[in-house]
Symmetry: C2
Amino acid sequence: MADTAYDLVVIGGGPAGYAAAIRAGQLGKKVACVEMERPGGTCLNWGCIPSKALLKAAETYETIQHADKLGFNVGEVTFDFDKIIQRSRGVSDQMAKGIEFLFKKNKVDYISGVGQVSAPGMVEITDGEDKGAILTASKILIATGCKARTLPGVDVDGENIFTSREALVMKKQPKSIVIVGAGAIGVEFAFFLKTLGTEVHLVEMLPQILPHEDKDTATALQRSFKKKKLKTYTGTKVENIKKTEGGVSLELVKGDKRTPLEVEALLLSIGIVPNMEGLLSSRVKLKEDRGYLVVNENYETNVKGIYGAGDIIGPPWLAHVATYEAVQAVNGMFGHGTPKKVTLFPSCTYCQPQVASVGMTEQMVKEKGIDYKVGKFPFTASGKAVAIDSSEGFVKVITDAQHGEILGAHIIGHDATELIGEYALAIHSELTGEDIHDTIHAHPTLSEANMEAVASVFGEAIHI
Amino acid sequence: MADTAYDLVVIGGGPAGYAAAIRAGQLGKKVACVEMERPGGTCLNWGCIPSKALLKAAETYETIQHADKLGFNVGEVTFDFDKIIQRSRGVSDQMAKGIEFLFKKNKVDYISGVGQVSAPGMVEITDGEDKGAILTASKILIATGCKARTLPGVDVDGENIFTSREALVMKKQPKSIVIVGAGAIGVEFAFFLKTLGTEVHLVEMLPQILPHEDKDTATALQRSFKKKKLKTYTGTKVENIKKTEGGVSLELVKGDKRTPLEVEALLLSIGIVPNMEGLLSSRVKLKEDRGYLVVNENYETNVKGIYGAGDIIGPPWLAHVATYEAVQAVNGMFGHGTPKKVTLFPSCTYCQPQVASVGMTEQMVKEKGIDYKVGKFPFTASGKAVAIDSSEGFVKVITDAQHGEILGAHIIGHDATELIGEYALAIHSELTGEDIHDTIHAHPTLSEANMEAVASVFGEAIHI
């Protein structure tokens, strides 16, 4: 890679970085994207995408196991755990190649290596294939993202102890596992492994699984997991993690009570930490807050010309938020509109039943002292849900009591992660519950539940 | 059933009728619903709902057949066709009981029998369990719907020749079938039977299957069917239908060419005709147009106090439209707002890949001479679609070139019928493409394709 001058050098090729590079390319800018592994970042290679392939396998197994109810006689069913893992890697490979194709299409120079901001306007490749290259750029966007948090003294060996990254390439299915942390990642692995037959202990320090979700959907999911004999522990810590001959020993700590447990494997899904190591030379000082880059309303750091977007600028650590921020940052730096900051975003967990939300939880609305109303529609009352044998869950919507504005929506059920889109658009566009109620929804669809939930706020739901 | 005076008597217990009755009950009105079969009407008992249960079976079979790709080894798979049919009946039974429950909850008197408007303000039960009862009502709503159209000289025997109604309770799976008419019903039965192994010939008189859909989605579906070896014939008529010993003989007529064909079964899915028989006594004359009731902007017929809603007032003959009309009519007649007429509604076909649309097709926009733009996003570029092994299809959106208003959206693919909801809300609320583009969509979801399709109108889609 010849040394050259760019309009923009992006460090990091994940959902923020690759989107930023492509967007700059669309705007006709000379742009390079520096990535130390391969395009796609954690999301595409070690997160959202391969995990969805694994979950598809689990769903398929559930479908086959329940097929007799639908009229099918299936002989003995076995599965090849390695093949399931390998398919998920294949999906990541395919999508990563897609990003490389998009780079070419949009004339993005893909630089393979570790990027360091050696000075404002200058990025040095300090390791990897293109080591030694020095890129000059009028603007630099840092989008190096985050990596899984680990615990001091706990050796993530990829054999018995994993973060999500190692868990995505498990060499064999563990007979038993403790999953520490019941956010989306922990919950998804719990569902995946339990469905395939692993004994799963899902442990959350906070009072509910999916701690950021509305209490109603989180509680409903916990109940659903209980039916599946997937053990959940809330308000519980994991301590004294030790490797044993056959796996891992640990203690579950709830209040004064300590319960020892021996399992084959342990997954740490306890959050993430920013990828800042080696990113800045000693000459470059960027303002940080708890390890995350601090940016202004234009996504610019305290140093002119150096921008940040995605996980590296802090929560909510979601791929779709990262992409949005990156595109906004690039639009802004090249005069294509005023950048917007993120105020509203959906959250999704892809176990079955799925959990999805957008806007405020009922707990948040209460805390803010807003006068609100709640509408709820159960999928048991949905003809489509019953017809497709997926009637678990409900849609819950929270509206402002005075103006009818939609404050939050919380869905648990089949396809919740697709259904939430309508509410995201509604809240973003400041529509009222009445707008959704007055929109004709196709029958029979699960999306009718969105409409009926809102109708129930007014006591006008037809099917409950 | 004692003779009694009602605020409203509804004739017909389908998606228009039962919704009207429930809505009137919610408004505290004394209401009766007269139904000659059982609550739910064609949709719930002989249409939308049981067909979705059958389609779920077909999808399950496809899932099992492709499970090896996902890592599963499945032994020999067989199915019990009768069990598949019976499950679909069970779903209808369950939902019909649900309507009866809702009637009780909303204090709706359920009258079992054939209702006749014997005079304005008077409904007589001319047949059925409650025969002889005479109901007086200040208002009457006619919601008797439609039934399948048949062909003169073709005997629908339920053995070899069916309309959708008989086909939903087929006694055995036919080895081969000609389906006459490739609207949603014909297409859904074609997919269902073909997936389970029937040789299917799907014949459409008009130039494309799904004649009301955008040409792009219809053509894509036809191509998908071809890959499945499901034979489609467009611009083709079926003539000389005759019963034979083993089934049915007929001729496919395309232009001058006549091709004889012998099959085991024939399904007529060539539209519907209004249920007007015996509905009105000779004293009651209601204005009709081609057999359908003519109503004004308040859903009132030419006779004061007699209203109509649903299929009986004409196209588009969709359950969700019928329900909407019925609720509007009831709200209006009891002073709960000004009734709205239907201008925008989604259309859905639940084969795989699904087809869904809302608003104008590109052909309609062209005919109107509107200056428009098209955005398109293929599911092959969607990480979620690839991860769940369902990357067939695309989202196509048509926007006004000048103002960016969304004119129509057309989706073919997995979950298209759920994804269309977002566009329905957008068009209904007069949002622009920019509103959808600027809404953060959860990653990875299929709904991102809605956003990227709109972004592609501006040349700003990231993933294509």
